[in-house]
């Protein structure tokens, strides 16, 4: 009896201690997420319905309903930024996926040097976006003195304007981005390839499959979850691209990030301009919500279409 009571007491004090511990972690955490996530989400949504400007006194804030959203779709710069965002994603995604999958397969097959190649290809991923974008912009893409144009001059090739021309600026940024992020996708793909059991390949070999057939009927289907992951994270990232565009266009001489002539302005860059240069916080918030809805829509669509159909 006595021992049982003592045991009960001990477990009770254990319970009390654990309860206290859990609450001491969970309560501050919930308060934090309430203040720095939930409140801003709501405030952003509500603010998008107001004529909200930075450093404005509360009294002059006027409710304008969906006016910000209606203005958005008449704003030619916003429409251009939307188009550019999709243009960037559509140029970046297929290039990045095909190239990184090819590299992952090649590195996997390269035997002794696989570790070395993986390390080298991953190098740009770990380094700063800002520093590397600056070096590409100033050191490689610069008219006349950039490395690309210097080498072109050496071989008597025509000079490229790269970031200075509205027709090539976006492409130049996409090429940089592929270089910068390639290693990330390679590592993810290599992990995915490693997870495919070798028995599948052995079975395919016994059946007399060619290497192309093995890729088509074994690797590709079994790599699907990895592929979905890379595509989803890639698209979400592309739709929010900001840093390289800001740095590369400003460093190459455009007056505002997103130049020349708004040829590289994307939604995130335009939102920054509207909110923090023109101080239109309500209008900027509306833009943020539209971007969020687009991202959400694409994610849902993808998870519908690219659902995992194989199990192993």
């Amino acid at each position: 009896m006595a021992t049982a009571r003592k045991e009960a007491q001990v477990t009770n004090s254990f319970r009390r201690n654990q309860r206290f511990f859990v609450l001491s972690v969970i309560i501050p955490m919930l308060i934090f997420f309430g203040i720095f996530y939930i409140y801003p989400i709501l405030a952003g949504f509500v603010g998008s319905l107001y004529n909200w400007r930075a450093f404005q006194d509360e009294a002059s804030r006027v409710f304008i309903g969906l006016d910000n959203y209606l203005t958005l779709f008449r704003d030619t710069v916003f429409l251009a930024s939307l188009r550019n965002t999709f243009l960037y994603a559509m140029m970046y995604m297929p290039t990045a996926i095909i190239l990184s999958l090819a590299c992952a397969l090649a590195i996997n097959a390269s035997g002794r040097l696989a570790g070395f190649f993986r390390t080298v290809y991953f190098l740009p991923v770990v380094t700063s976006v800002i520093a590397t974008a600056l070096i590409w912009s100033v050191g490689l893409y610069q008219p006349r003195y950039g490395l690309f144009n210097q080498v072109a001059a050496l071989f008597g090739l025509p000079q490229g304007a790269f970031l200075r021309s509205p027709s090539t600026a976006m492409l130049s940024i996409v090429i940089y981005s592929v270089w910068k992020n390639l290693g990330y996708d390679i590592v993810i793909f290599m992990a995915g390839l490693m997870a495919i059991p070798t028995t599948f390949y052995e079975a395919a070999r016994v059946d007399g499959a060619t290497r192309l057939q093995m890729f088509r009927y074994v690797t590709l289907p079994l790599l699907q979850p990895t592929l979905v992951f890379v595509i989803i994270t890639g698209i979400i990232g592309s739709l929010q691209v900001y840093g390289p565009i800001y740095v590369m266009t400003v460093a190459s001489g455009a007056d505002l990030p997103g130049g020349p002539l708004n040829s590289t302005i994307v939604v995130a860059v335009y939102q920054w301009q509207v909110a923090f240069r023109e101080l239109k916080l309500g209008y900027g918030s509306a833009m943020g919500i539209v971007l969020f809805l687009i991202i959400l829509g694409i994610t849902l669509l993808q998870s519908r279409f690219l659902r995992r159909r194989w199990e192993y």
């Binding site: 201690n17 206290f20 859990v22 969970i26 955490m29 919930l30 934090f32 997420f33 720095f36 996530y37 409140y39 801003p40 989400i41 405030a43 952003g44 603010g47 930075a54 090649a106 590195i107 097959a109 390269s110 040097l113 390390t119 290809y121 740009p124 770990v126 700063s128 800002i130 520093a131 590397t132 600056l134 070096i135 590409w136 050191g139 610069q142 003195y145 490395l147 210097q150 080498v151 001059a153 990330y184 590592v187 993810i188 979400i236 900001y242 840093g243 800001y246 400003v250 460093a251 190459s252 001489g253 939604v267 939102q271 920054w272 909110a275 916080l281 918030s285 971007l291 959400l296 994610t299």
Partner: protein, 293 residues
């Protein structure tokens, strides 16, 4: 009894040819991947050597692959740029990044531990709530956050950089997955031996999750070292700038000084490059750990 059975098929001329073909294939692969590797490293090499060239050599045609007139003038000029001083930016970045990394490791492992090893009411709902914060893009919360920070008088202070990321949904998720693998018997045994709950966290959970902590530390450090948008919004005093903000001040009106830009960029790349060279395996393992799961 033991008869040595030679099961290997005698090597025919055809097989030999096959072996040679595979070798040849590998060599072609190495050459192609090698060219790619040069493209990967090239910009860093160009950055490095350009920082030791003077203005004239920096714009020379044909370009020089090794500095002919080696100079340190670009590196010397870093303390006195028109936008501020690189060493100051460097110190600011180091301070902010280290503080944020330590806080993230602490809060993520603590909350991750609670989610992994305790039962309490609404646990799953709360965990799902934390996870759902991952899908909220920064473009939605950025503007209200700026408004809050401005109202509280936090603009131009590191409080504005640190406080809004005290807890990381991603870090909590990662640590929960990893701490769940620690056997609960260890925790119960410590409890019976009279260890306090925080004692268990510090003396059992933390030491046993070093691999995940290292991955999270690397991830947080590299991410914060490069964080650009939020500091750009809340800081506008050059003496408070972090490295990305300082670097973004280079504006190419006419011809920009390649040597100076190279030296400045190299300063910001160097610390991570050094750590990467020595711990590259950890970086890559970290990505597979943080990316997939």
């Amino acid at each position: 009894m033991t008869t040595v059975t030679n099961t290997s098929v005698p090597i025919t001329a055809r097989d030999q040819w096959r072996w040679r073909r595979i070798d040849l294939e590998k060599i072609v692969l190495w050459i192609v991947l090698g060219i790619g590797a040069i493209a990967m490293v090239g910009p860093f090499y160009w950055m490095f050597i350009s920082s030791f060239k003077n203005r004239i050599e920096g714009s020379a045609i044909p370009p020089t692959w090794i500095p002919q007139n080696f100079t340190l003038e670009n590196w010397g000029a870093l303390t006195d740029l028109s936008v501020g001083s690189m060493p100051v930016f460097f110190r600011n970045s180091l301070y902010v990044t280290i503080v944020i990394t330590f806080i993230t490791l602490f809060t993520s492992s603590l909350a991750g531990y609670v989610f992994a090893k305790f039962e309490f009411r609404y646990k799953n709902v709360i965990f799902w709530f934390v996870l759902s914060m991952l899908v909220v893009p920064f473009s939605v919360t950025m503007i209200p956050l700026f408004d809050m920070v401005a109202n509280w008088g936090w603009r131009n202070s590191y409080t504005a950089l640190i406080v809004p990321i005290l807890f990381s949904p991603f870090g909590i998720f990662l640590m929960r997955q990893q701490i769940a693998n620690i056997p609960s018997e260890l925790i119960d045994a410590a409890r019976i031996d009279g260890a306090s709950e925080y004692g268990i966290y510090f003396r059992i959970i933390l030491p046993l999750s070093t691999a995940a902590l290292a991955a999270l530390a690397i991830f947080t450090f590299t991410f914060q070292w490069d964080n650009f948008l939020w500091p750009l919004i809340v800081l506008d005093k050059p003496e408070l700038y972090t490295l990305p903000l300082g670097l973004a001040q280079f504006r190419g009106r006419s011809s920009i000084d390649l040597g100076l830009v190279s030296a400045a960029s190299f300063v910001s790349v160097l610390p991570i490059l050094v750590v990467y060279i020595f711990a590259q395996r950890r970086f890559i393992e970290g990505i597979t750990l943080t990316g997939m799961k």
